[in-house]
């Protein structure tokens, strides 16, 4: 077990290294290939040659790309100093670099964004798991009923609706026409929990609707497959009450695949819900990523990519561990 965990941790770190290396390569190689200067991208086209040279030295842009990558990794674990003569900027570990576009350190910038993304993703996740699984299980148990067909029709529509359309539609209906919700920007939880909750209702519901639809379909399919198994018939045949048959035997194996998908979906969302955040103007990681990409702000792009990849890799890891516990058929090799 311990050997397995160690092996998985090493694998995860390698994956993260490759992700950062690829991101690094794309954003440093492509300007070279197309003949544009990263230093110019940082400070704009109308700067004098001396200050461009200064930026180059300070950012280490004159170093070969592998050296630059090495310095980035070193900053991540030990912090680093940006030096140009007497001009020294210190960046403590974990240093994700220095955004010269916004003149800020990347790490604290992204930590602030992460709290917004966390609020959005965790709230939505709770909603969609409760709704999706409940609807899926009930649909499977009442297969073919009016409620089942109705729920599945809504679910199919749900998976076909992009979040950037439902988000706009929901804002138009609930804020403008019905006036049930105030038009509000994101309020941090620490500032006012009530306002925080109100400002996130629509983003939560919109995001959760999309996922709940997927989960309802998946849960229903899994449950139906499980309910058709021989051991369910055996359980019924030996006179077990229907409640125990469903609760003890069917749910457990019917819902295990959902755990996997849930972990991966949540992991992917924690790296930034790019679409939802942009529709609702939430300044989270996804919003930051898009702004950074538009502004060619490499350190920020690199930082968001690394955080996003970290959550995906971590989610994979956790899911595999949890799976070994909840599914006795899976034995760790």
């Amino acid at each position: 077990m311990l050997a397995y965990i160690i092996r998985r941790v090493i694998n995860s770190i390698i994956t993260l290294l490759v992700v950062t290396a690829v991101t690094f390569a794309i954003f440093f190689m492509v300007p070279k290939l197309t003949g544009s200067d990263p230093a110019l991208l940082y400070i704009g086209k109308n700067s004098d040659p001396a200050s461009v040279q200064g930026i180059r030295i300070k950012l280490g842009l004159n170093d070969p790309i592998p050296v630059q990558y090495g310095k980035f990794l070193k900053g991540l674990v030990a912090g680093r100093d940006y030096v140009n003569g007497n001009d020294i900027t210190h960046c403590p570990a974990p240093c994700l670099g220095y955004s010269f576009k916004t003149d800020q350190e990347v790490t604290p910038l992204l930590v602030g964004d992460l709290s917004v993304t966390l609020s959005l993703a965790v709230g939505a996740a709770i909603l969609w798991v409760l709704m999706g699984v409940a609807i899926g299980v009930l649909s499977a148990l009442r297969r073919g009923s009016f409620a089942d067909r109705g729920a599945m029709t809504v679910a199919l529509a749900g998976v076909s609706l992009p979040v950037y359309f439902t988000g706009l539609l929901a804002s138009a209906i609930f804020i403008r026409w019905l006036g049930w919700l105030p038009e509000s920007n994101y309020v941090p939880l620490t500032q006012n929990p009530g306002d925080w909750f109100v400002s996130l209702i629509l983003p939560w519901v919109t995001l959760a609707f999309l996922f709940a639809a997927t989960y309802a379909r998946l849960t229903r399919a899994n449950m139906l497959e499980t309910l058709g198994e021989d051991y369910i018939r055996t359980a019924r045949a030996k006179g077990l009450r229907e409640r125990s048959v469903i609760g003890k035997h069917a749910l457990r194996s019917g819902l295990t695949p959902i755990v996997t998908i849930f972990g991966l979906d949540l992991g992917a969302l924690l790296g930034g819900a790019i679409l939802t955040e942009n529709v609702f103007n939430l300044r989270g990681l996804g919003y930051q990523a898009l702004t950074a990409i538009r502004g060619n702000d490499l350190p920020v792009i690199l930082g968001v990519t690394l955080i996003a990849a970290f959550f995906i890799v971590a989610a994979n890891f956790v899911v595999d561990l949890v799976y070994g516990v909840i599914d006795p058929r899976v034995r760790l090799a």
């Binding site: 994956t15 490759v18 992700v19 991101t23 794309i26 954003f27 492509v30 300007p31 197309t34 199919l156 529509a157 998976v159 076909s160 609706l161 992009p162 950037y164 359309f165 706009l168 539609l169 804002s171 138009a172 403008r176 992917a268 790296g271 930034g272 790019i274 679409l275 942009n278 529709v279 996804g286 990523a289 898009l290 990409i293 538009r294 792009i301 968001v304 990519t305 996003a308 990849a309 995906i312 890799v313 994979n316």
Partner: protein, 335 residues
Amino acid sequence: MSLGPEASITDETTTPTADAAEERDRGEKAIAGRSLKQIAWRRLKKDKVALAGGIVVIFLIVVAILAPVLTRLWGHPIDEYHVDQIDPTLSTPLGKLGGISRHFLLGVEPTSGRDIFGRILYGAQTSLTVAFLSAFVSTAIGTIFGLAAGFLGGWVDSVISRVMDFLLAFPQLLFAIALVSVLPDTILGLGDRWSRVLVLVGVIGFFGWPYIGRIVRGQTLSLREREFVEASRSLGARSPRILFRELLPNLAAPILVYTTLIIPTNILTEAALSFLGVGIPPPNPSWGGMLSDAVAFYSIDPMYMIIPGGMIFITVLAFNLFGDGLRDALDPKAR
């Protein structure tokens, strides 16, 4: 008292051989001469919902191909401004429901007054081209690598599987945005519209292949051990023949199903990228781009948001319905 049932039992036991033979004959006649294609088609024909999805898909493809003709017939050129249709103070369409009228079938854009009908049709063209071509790219790469991994095994399998795991662990949308924004605006001397279409096809297609690759690999692994492959090999068939004549035909069904199901995902991705401003560059029409423009007007001119959003919804839903139906029809486990 006991005579009744006993009599009936003996009744039954007198004729079983004849009955069974008849049963088997009828069954074999029905099964013989029916290929998977015929069975699937028969099932699909009964699935009205999937058929409806298929018809909508075909209709959309025809509309996309005929976009220039239809626009000339019932619309206006896509970049022609109609400021006379716009309220100068609010910059919203003058007419009701976003300016829908006999001359402007789906209304006009706020501010510019461009004809939405034509822009929706051209948007369908872009959207479907990107979705189909990138599905094709994903399928081609996924099938080749999936087959290679499953059939060759060993280090080839480990390398390909690692790459697939790695790609699936990637923040994909983030990377698609990043890639699209650093790639050049025009390539191969194509205009900015088709250059970007090509870039989108490459990026979306590339990130989609591991999904198909995994399925093909898994299927290949299980097919490889089957008797018909062994029989073929013992008859002296070499690897290429086993790959292309024995394995690939058996993989056709899952490949077809997953290609169909990846198309709606691609449509959503293209629209998302255009919505975020890194897809089809304006003034070229795209559904995602129109939705993005609609953000500023959704409360005063909701039709401008509902039309492109509704088109995305209908298109994706139709592909999903058809793909689900196709999967049920081709799945031997289905009832």
